[in-house]
């Protein structure tokens, strides 16, 4: 049998790799690249299903200009979405991290506890929306009733009709649903940490706070970056729960960017402009991703410097 040369082997490996990658690549092109290309193209057209003279002619950056200059609803939705992301992901992170630390240090058998904790996360967002809509309903909601009983909610107040309470309530529901996810990921990270750095820090006389800030947090940085990124992207795209709970109202008090994009596309049927709105959502998500990569890169480069 003739031995295969190194070059031949390489070519064979490459060929096999391309062959094996092809189905996934085709799927990616069909289901990701194709629609994204179409969305991007549509954002530069005037396509509207409602107006008869807008068949999708190329209009350059008109939609983006309108978005940037004239659309106050877009900007208010954008700001609201950012505030929602910061508040909900921030709270989820703090609570989830604290809970994970508590479980890691105090609970020996975590199986049952984790199963119970994960229940909210496993519920479909629509189910969560309906559940809380009923619990907080102004006339007969159970939670609303108890809040009134203990004086936390006025007799004539209803959470989803009160502009001051709607967003805090939505943030609280999101925190209720997603804190377990943060707990789970952080707990997995804590369990995988090496003991040696902590033992060394103890021997050097570092107290618990010092160890937390100078050892644990730096070691957990990739996990933290990952969890913040995943939750950030997810929260930025939040739609189902809020749509079920309030539909973006009252007025526009809870209209997040995804709900606005939905309205432009599927209520106003202004597809070209809606694509521009959706493109902006994508752009923000891309920025979030780049922040994540930056964080990881920063960690790796730090590792290389240390080495």
């Amino acid at each position: 049998m003739r031995p295969v040369s190194a070059r031949g082997r390489l070519l064979f490996d490459r060929g096999t790799a391309w062959f094996l990658l092809a189905p996934a690549a085709v799927l990616v092109v069909i289901f990701l690249v194709g629609p994204f290309y179409y969305m991007t193209w549509t954002a530069f057209t005037d396509l509207s299903f409602a107006n008869p003279d807008q068949h999708g002619s190329f209009i350059g950056f008109d939609n983006f200009r309108r978005l940037m200059r004239d659309d106050d609803i877009f900007w208010s939705s954008f700001g609201r979405t950012l505030r929602f992301v910061v508040a909900s992901v921030g709270l989820e992170f703090v609570l989830g991290f604290a809970l994970a630390l508590l479980i890691h240090r105090s609970v020996r058998s975590t199986r049952i506890l984790l199963t119970l904790l994960l229940i909210p996360m496993m519920l479909a967002p629509v189910a969560v929306g309906l559940l809380w809509k009923l619990l907080l309903q102004g006339d007969f909601g159970m939670v609303a009733y108890y809040l009134r009983s203990v004086g936390l909610l006025g007799r004539d107040a209803a959470i989803f009709s009160n502009p001051d309470l709607v967003m805090p309530a939505i943030v609280a529901i999101d925190v209720w649903q997603w804190t377990p996810f943060v707990t789970l990921v952080v707990l997995a990270g804590l369990m995988s940490l090496p003991r040696e750095p902590f033992e060394a820090a103890t021997m050097d006389g570092a107290g618990p706070w010092r160890q937390f800030f100078d050892v644990l947090l730096p070691l957990m940085r990739p996990i933290i970056a990952l969890v913040l990124l995943l939750r950030g992207i997810d929260a930025f795209k939040e739609f189902d729960k809020v749509f079920i709970l309030t539909g973006g109202g009252p007025g526009t008090v809870s209209e997040l960017l995804s709900i606005y994009a939905y309205r432009v596309n599927f209520k106003n049927w202004d597809i070209g402009y809606g694509a521009a709105v959706a493109f902006m959502v994508y752009l923000v998500v891309v920025v979030l991703c780049s922040v994540f990569y930056k964080a990881v890169y920063w960690k790796r480069s730090g590792d290389r410097v240390a080495a």
């Binding site: 509207s48 299903f49 409602a50 107006n51 008869p52 309903q137 102004g138 006339d139 007799r155 004539d156 107040a157 209803a158 989803f160 009709s161 502009p163 309030t246 539909g247 973006g248 109202g249 009252p250 007025g251 526009t252 008090v253 309205r263 599927f266 209520k267 106003n268 049927w269 202004d270």
Partner: protein, 455 residues
Amino acid sequence: MGRIDGWLRGLAIGVLLWQVPQSHAWTLEEAAKPYKGVTLRTIGESLPPLEAMKAMAPEFTKRTGIKVEIEMYEHSEAVNKVMLDLNSKRARYDFILQPHRELGKFVANKHLQAIDRFLDDPKLRDPSFDPAKVLYPGLWKEISWYQGKVYGFPFTALTMYAWYRADLLNDPKERAGFKAKYGYELQPARDWKQYRDLAEWFTRPDQGFYGTALQGKRHEALWYEWINFLYSFGGDVLDVKAGSECGPVIVNSPEAIESLEYYKSLVKFSPPDTLNYFWDDVMALMQQGKVFELIMWNDATYAVAEDKEASTVAGKMAFDLVPQGNGGKVGQVEGWSYLVPASAKNQAAAYLFIQWMMAGQRTPRCLCRQGSPEARLCQGVDADQRSGQAEGHAAAVGRDDRHPRARDLHVPGGSEDRQGRARHVGEGHLQAPGQVRAAQVSGQVTDAWERHCGR
């Protein structure tokens, strides 16, 4: 011979005369023969009228061999699904049931088949079916015609009017107390001041009872409710004669602003969650006996006023036109129409089914009892008990010209922004006086309409 000839000639003429009407007599079975085995598919709002159609369709199938499949969805979903189907040219539906506001957009985008083609076809047209005689002409023209062309027939005739708790109006204790406080008899409101007085009088939060309930959710319901106030106060959206026209925007007129200010003033007599209600919620509140008065759709009447299994106030309700404002006592005209998509595969068979539904006396009594949501005459059903309701319906369908009609507009594009306009009206609700005034809200609605009119 001559006698026999004459006799034979007479016989031949007799046979001919007997044959001629036989061959020309129109029957559904004969007209449907070419389409036997076809399956028609349609879509509409999941409400009793459509359920009734579903119950009646097998009779049509039995006579014609044409099957009818009916898809029922919630209001917005039924509208969205049709929109996607028409734009994708998938032609899933052979005929569609759609609300008034969609008509202009469909016609402008050439999505619909005008039905005069079928009406002029002797093979399809049932000679005994005369839409002008069967339908309320005002309603038909308003919701199924566009720019002088007929695109369908009304499926439902919807209107909104005032609902009251008759038992409370007749309660001697309430009457005495009310008169002592307001100086006039407790009675259905004649004007908007009286309407607010009633709302105020019956608002008793400690008993979980409220004077009224507004449909303040960000939803089409908010827009439809507010236009009752708008028209009654003498305002309008556009200065036009027909819903298909795009004239000067007058929704920021002093009358419109006044109507919005008044509308906002009712929030304090509504349950705390009123800004999260749409039509289903206020109907449920009335069924539970938690509200004294409402402005509500006629097709909910049966569920509230008569269905004792569903409603605690069955038999205790009274109805009237919305109170008198500077614009008069208005009756809102709205409704869904049978329409045939231009891309539909079985247009003729679809027309036959629609005609069959329209031509016969196929309105079940249960439908009539829901407040005459049918577009055809449906009188005589408890009309004496619900004279206000009957009056409201008559005004809405144009049968009674004494009252102006509040009609929504269906210019292309304009129909899309109801939610947007509901948003503006909703914002008007939300802001404390001095922050966003009704004038500003009306200004925003004006801008939206200017855009729809291409200005």
